[in-house]
C-alpha cells in the first residue's frame, strides 16, 4: 500500500517522463488472474469513481456475490461465462512508474488471446492456485513466455487462504514451478504467497504470511524493468515502403535495433546492395541530423538509385543479417488444423513476406504435458521445432543475435496461425529440396588443378553489345586451352538458344538469365574449370548477384569499348535494327547499361590488339591466384 502515492505528488502531470512498464498476468483458468488485477487496482487507488459501487450493485441485482474480476469482465459474454475471453488492459501507477496490466485469458480455448496480450509485455506475473498447484496451462504459459522472449517473470501463489496459509504447501509449489521455469531458461524474480481476494501479499505482507520475507506483488512489479531499447545491437531497419510523394525517394521503416545517421555506409539485404544514407527525412522539419536509434520510425534517402523493396533489411556493412532460404524455428501453433510436414505456409519476418514450405518437424510437444514427442505435425496450442524452406531469400538473424529480426509469424489463409523464434539460418545457401541428394565429384579439386595448372574460376566479361566480349572470350579460351588448362566458354546468346530458351528480355528474365549463367559457371569453377562468361549483363545488381553465387572464384572484366565504336562494329546487326525500331529492349542505344565500378579488370578494345588484351587478362588471372605462377615457365619449355 505504501508504494502508492497520491497522484498530486507526481512531478510530471502527463506521465511523459515516467517510465511505463507493461505486465501480463498469465496462468491456469480460475487461478485468480482477474481477481488479482481487480485487487491491484483497488489497492493502488486506481479505480474510477463509483466503479466499485456500480459493480457491487450489478452483482446484487444478479444475485451473485461480488467478485473483483467483475471489474475486468466488462463484456456481456464474459459475465455470462465467467471467464476472460480476450486481453484487457488496465493502467495504474506505483511510486516510480506507470503500469499497464494486461489480463490474458487462462482458458486453453483462448491461447491466441493470451499470446496477443503477452507479446506486448515487458514482464509477466504467473499465477498459481495454492490448492490446485501447477496445472497444464501453468506450464503452457510458462513455456510460451519463454517463446515470446519474456525473461522477467514473477510467480504468485494465490488463494493461500484456501490452504490455511501453509508455508509447506507454498514451498512445494514454489519448488515445482521454479524448476520448470529455470529449465526453460526463465528464472523467476520472486515467488509470492498471496490471497488476491483478501489482499494478503498484494500490497503488503500481512501477519497471516508472516513466514514470508520476499516482496509483495506491488513491490515485485516495481522491480521489473521496462524493455530496453535495442540500440546496442547492430543496425536493422526493415523496409516498410518506398515513398515517392515528391521528388524525394524515401525509404521508410522503423529501426528495430542499432542506430543510423546520414552518411552511413549501408547494405541492403538480402540482395547485398551497397549504398550510403544521403539524408534522414522527417516532417515538419527536414532533413534531420544526428543519430536515430532503435524504436524510431524513420525515412531515409540514399545516394544512388537502387532497386529496393518492402521486406528488405538495411544494415551496416560488416554487420549484416544473413540472407537465407532455409530457417529453423521454434514455434507455437494456434491454428485449428495441425501444421504438418510438407505444408505450404506464408512466413512474415519483419516486413518481408515469403511463401514457404515445412521441410521437417521435430520435437513437437504439448507444453502443458511436456511429453509425447511428435515428428509429423504440430497440433493446435502445441509447440515444436520446424525447418522451413522459403520461396525467396530473406534477411534474418538467429534470435540470440537479435530478438527483433530473429522472430517470425506464420500465416494460413490470410490469418496469423503461429509464430516463433529463429533458431538458426543457413547463411547464403540455396534451399535444397529434401528429396535431392547432391552427389559429390569423385575427384578432389587438387587433382584437377594439378593437371590443369589453374584453379577453378568464373571470368565474367560484361560490356555493351559489340564491345568485343565474345572475341576476347574466344581468344582467352584458346590461350588457356593451349596452356593445358580447361576453359569453357559460356556465351550469353548461345545459352539463350537452349538452357535459357524460356527467357525473354524483361528485367526479371534478364535477372534469371544471369542467375542461371552464374550457377552453371560456378558449378564448372568448383570442379576446377575456368568458365568464361560473355554476357552484356547490363544490371549492376544482377552482376552483384552473380558475384555472390561464384564468391571468391569471380573475376569481372569490364569490356569498356566506347559506345559509338560498339555501334559502328554492330557484328550482329542489332544496333541497326534497334535504331530502325524493329528490335525492342536492346541494351546499347539506351542508357540502361550500368558500368561496373569495381571490376577486376577494365579493357578498351578500341585500342590494342586482341593478343595484348588476352595477355592482360592472363596476367590478372596469375596475379589473383587463378593461374599458377610457374605457368610462364612451363610455356617456355614447350
Amino acid at each position: 500500500m505504501n508504494m502508492i502515492l497520491p497522484s498530486s505528488v507526481l512531478a510530471t502531470p502527463n506521465g511523459t517522463t515516467r517510465p511505463q512498464i507493461r505486465i501480463v498476468i498469465v496462468g491456469h483458468v480460475d487461478h485468480g488472474k482477474s481477481t488479482l488485477v481487480g485487487r491491484l487496482l483497488h489497492e493502488t487507488g486506481s479505480l474510477p469513481e463509483g466503479k466499485l459501487e456500480m459493480l457491487k450493485a450489478v452483482s446484487a441485482r444478479r444475485g451473485m456475490p461480488f467478485e473483483w474480476s467483475f471489474l475486468l469482465d466488462a463484456l456481456q459474454t464474459e459475465r455470462d461465462q465467467g471467464i476472460t475471453i480476450d486481453t484487457t488492459q488496465i493502467r495504474f501507477r506505483t511510486r516510480s512508474r506507470d503500469v499497464v496490466l494486461i489480463d490474458a485469458p487462462g482458458h486453453a480455448e483462448f491461447l491466441r488471446n493470451m499470446i496477443t496480450g503477452a507479446s506486448q509485455a515487458d514482464g509477466a506475473v504467473l499465477i498459481i492456485d495454492a490448492l490446485e498447484g501447477v496445472r497444464d496451462q501453468t506450464r503452457r504459459h510458462g513455456y510460451l513466455l519463454h517463446l515470446l522472449g519474456i525473461k522477467q517473470v514473477a510467480v504468485v501463489v494465490n488463494k493461500m487462504d484456501r490452504v490455511d496459509f501453509s508455508a509447506d504447501r507454498f514451498k512445494e509449489i514454489s519448488d515445482e514451478i521454479s524448476s520448470h521455469l529455470t529449465g526453460l531458461g526463465v528464472t523467476p524474480s520472486a515467488v509470492i504467497p498471496i490471497s488476491a481476494r483478501d489482499g494478503d501479499g498484494v500490497a503488503e505482507r500481512t501477519p497471516r504470511i508472516s513466514w514470508y520475507q520476499g516482496p509483495s506483488v506491488v513491490e515485485a512489479l516495481d522491480a521489473l524493468e521496462p524493455a530496453r531499447p535495442l540500440e546496442q545491437l547492430a543496425l536493422r531497419l526493415p523496409v516498410q515502403a518506398i515513398y515517392k510523394f515528391d521528388d524525394r525517394r524515401i525509404v521508410a521503416g522503423r529501426i528495430e535495433s542499432g542506430s543510423l545517421s546520414a552518411g552511413d555506409e549501408i547494405v541492403i539485404m538480402p540482395a547485398g546492395k551497397i549504398a550510403k544514407i544521403k539524408t534522414v527525412e522527417s516532417w515538419p522539419v527536414t532533413p534531420v541530423n544526428g543519430s536515430h536509434g532503435a524504436g524510431r520510425s524513420v525515412g531515409i534517402t540514399l545516394d544512388r538509385e537502387l532497386f529496393i523493396e518492402r521486406g528488405d533489411v538495411i544494415a551496416h556493412a560488416g554487420a549484416t543479417p544473413r540472407d537465407t532460404r532455409r530457417i529453423r524455428a521454434r514455434i507455437f501453433w494456434l491454428h485449428d488444423k495441425p501444421l504438418a510436414k510438407g505444408e505450404q505456409i506464408l512466413i512474415r519476418l519483419g516486413t518481408r513476406e515469403s511463401r514457404a514450405h515445412v521441410v521437417a518437424i521435430e520435437k513437437a510437444i504439448d507444453p502443458g504435458e511436456l511429453s509425447n514427442e511428435e515428428t509429423k505435425s504440430i497440433a493446435r496450442n502445441h509447440v515444436g521445432e520446424i525447418d522451413i524452406s522459403l520461396a525467396q531469400p530473406v534477411a534474418a538473424d538467429p534470435y540470440q543475435d537479435n530478438p527483433r529480426t530473429g522472430r517470425l509469424v506464420i500465416e494460413v489463409n490470410g490469418r496469423i496461425a503461429g509464430g516463433g523464434l529463429v533458431l538458426s539460418v543457413d547463411a547464403g545457401q540455396r534451399a535444397v529440396p529434401i528429396d535431392i541428394v547432391p552427389v559429390e565429384s569423385a575427384l578432389r579439386p587438387e587433382e584437377r588443378s594439378a593437371r590443369y595448372r589453374h584453379n577453378g574460376a568464373v571470368i565474367w566479361l560484361t560490356g555493351l553489345p559489340g564491345s568485343g566480349k565474345s572475341t576476347l572470350a574466344r581468344a582467352l579460351e584458346r590461350r588457356l586451352f593451349g596452356n593445358g588448362g580447361s576453359p569453357i566458354l559460356l556465351d550469353g546468346d548461345t545459352l539463350r538458344a537452349g538452357l535459357n530458351g524460356d527467357l525473354g528480355f524483361s528485367a526479371q528474365d534478364r535477372t534469371e538469365n544471369i542467375r542461371r549463367l552464374a550457377e552453371v559457371a560456378t558449378h564448372l569453377a568448383r570442379n576446377g574449370h575456368i568458365a568464361i562468361v560473355a554476357a552484356v549483363s547490363p544490371s549492376a545488381d544482377d552482376r552483384a548477384a552473380a558475384r555472390r553465387i561464384a564468391d571468391a572464384a569471380f573475376r569481372e572484366i569490364y569490356v569498356a569499348t566506347p559506345a559509338e565504336i560498339c555501334e559502328s562494329r554492330d557484328p550482329k546487326g542489332h544496333y541497326a535494327k534497334a535504331r530502325a525500331g524493329t528490335l525492342q529492349s536492346f541494351t546499347g542505344i539506351g542508357n540502361d547499361y550500368q558500368p561496373p565500378t569495381q571490376s577486376e579488370l577494365r579493357i578498351d578494345t578500341s585500342s590494342g590488339s586482341v593478343a595484348d588484351a588476352t595477355d592482360t587478362i592472363e596476367r590478372m588471372l596469375a596475379e589473383t591466384g587463378v593461374l599458377f605462377d610457374e605457368l610462364v615457365d612451363l610455356a617456355a619449355n614447350i
Binding site: 497522484s7 507526481l10 511505463q20 456481456q76 484487457t88 531499447p229 534531420v288 525515412g299 522472430r407 490469418r415
Partner: protein, 301 residues
C-alpha cells in the same frame, strides 16, 4: 523533429496559435536539431507511424475517419508525419448533422489547411435505425449506418479509426488491425491473434478492416502530444463558465463536465487528479450495461 515544441503552451484556438500551427514550415534549414533520445511520447508516435505505414502498405483502399475530435486530429498529425507532410488517403467525416458549430468551422478550415482529401458523408434519418436501442445509443447508431453507406459507396477495405484502449472497457479488447464482417460487425469472440507488430491484413472479399493507430495512447498522452506538437483544437475542450467538454460527439447526446481547465496544461493537471471516466459526458455509455458493447459489435467505433 520537435521544432513546434517551443513554448507552444496550451493555447487552443487563439488565432495566433492557429496560424503558427497551420503554417508549419514545409522544409527547414538542414538539421537544426539533434534528435533527443526517445521519451514516452516519441515511443507512442513511432509506434503509431509504424502502424499507419503498415496499413498503407498492406491495404488497397484506405480512409481515415475524422471525427474532428482531439484524438482524430492527433491521428491526422501522425499520418502527416508518417507520410512526410501529406495524408495519402481520404479523410472521411461521417456527418450526423448534429455536431457543434465550432466543429464544423474546424473541419472547414483544417480540411483545407492540412490539404486533406476530405469526404463528407451524411447519415440516414433516425427512423432507419434499430428502434430497440435506448435513445442516445440509437442516435449514435445512425453513425454506424452512415459508415456502412460510405463503405458501400467507396469500397474501402480499411478504415483508420482513433479509438483508444483506455477510453472504455470493450475498446481495451481491440486489436490494432481489427477485422469486420461483411455487415461491418465485430466478432469479439473470434479475434485473430496479433503479436510482434504483425497484423492480420487480409479481410475477406467485401469485408473491411479497422485500423487503430492510437489504440495504445491515453487521454493524457493525447493532450501532452497535442501540446508538444502544437496541434490545433476545438475550443469546446477548454473551460468556459466552469464547464468543458472532455469528449465531443453529437450536440444532443454529449454533455460538458465541470472543469476550470482553460489550457492544455490545466487539462493535464486535471486529468492527473480525476477518477471520472473520459466518456462520462457521453449519454450513450450509461444507458444500460451493454448498450455500448451492442453498438460496437454492430460496427460502431
Amino acid at each position: 523533429m520537435h521544432l513546434l515544441n517551443k513554448e507552444s503552451g496550451g493555447h487552443g484556438l487563439q488565432p495566433a496559435a492557429l496560424n503558427q500551427a497551420s503554417s508549419a514550415p514545409k522544409i527547414l534549414a538542414h538539421g537544426q536539431l539533434p534528435p533527443p533520445s526517445m521519451d514516452h511520447l516519441d515511443e507512442l508516435e513511432a509506434q503509431s507511424i509504424y502502424i499507419l505505414r503498415e496499413a498503407f502498405a498492406r491495404l488497397k483502399k484506405l480512409a481515415l475517419l475524422w471525427s474532428l475530435g482531439k484524438d482524430s486530429n492527433v491521428m491526422i498529425w501522425l499520418a502527416r508525419k508518417a507520410f512526410f507532410g501529406r495524408v495519402p488517403f481520404p479523410a472521411l467525416h461521417v456527418d450526423t448533422g448534429k455536431k457543434f458549430a465550432e466543429m464544423y468551422a474546424f473541419r472547414d478550415r483544417f480540411g483545407k489547411e492540412w490539404e486533406l482529401d476530405l469526404k463528407i458523408e451524411p447519415c440516414p434519418p433516425i427512423d432507419a435505425v434499430d428502434p430497440t436501442l435506448p435513445p442516445a445509443a440509437r442516435s449514435a447508431a445512425r453513425k454506424t449506418e452512415g459508415l456502412k453507406w460510405a463503405l458501400t459507396k467507396y469500397g474501402f477495405d480499411g478504415l483508420i479509426a482513433g479509438i483508444r484502449r483506455d477510453e472504455e472497457a470493450t475498446r481495451a479488447k481491440e486489436r490494432v488491425f481489427s477485422p469486420r464482417g461483411l455487415e461491418g460487425g465485430w466478432d469479439v469472440r473470434d479475434q485473430p491473434p496479433e503479436f510482434w507488430d504483425h497484423f492480420n491484413a487480409s479481410p475477406p472479399q467485401g469485408a473491411h478492416l479497422r485500423i487503430h493507430p492510437i489504440l495504445h495512447w491515453t487521454e493524457a498522452d493525447i493532450w501532452a502530444y497535442t501540446k508538444r506538437e502544437n496541434i490545433p483544437i476545438i475550443p469546446l475542450y477548454l473551460s468556459k463558465d466552469g464547464k468543458r467538454y472532455r469528449s465531443l460527439g453529437d450536440q444532443d447526446i454529449t454533455n460538458p463536465v465541470a472543469s476550470t481547465a482553460s489550457s492544455i496544461d490545466e487539462i493535464l493537471t486535471e486529468l492527473d487528479g480525476t477518477k471520472v471516466p473520459e466518456r462520462a459526458g457521453r449519454a450513450l455509455d450509461h444507458e444500460t450495461e451493454d448498450a455500448f458493447e451492442r453498438l460496437r459489435v454492430a460496427g460502431y467505433l
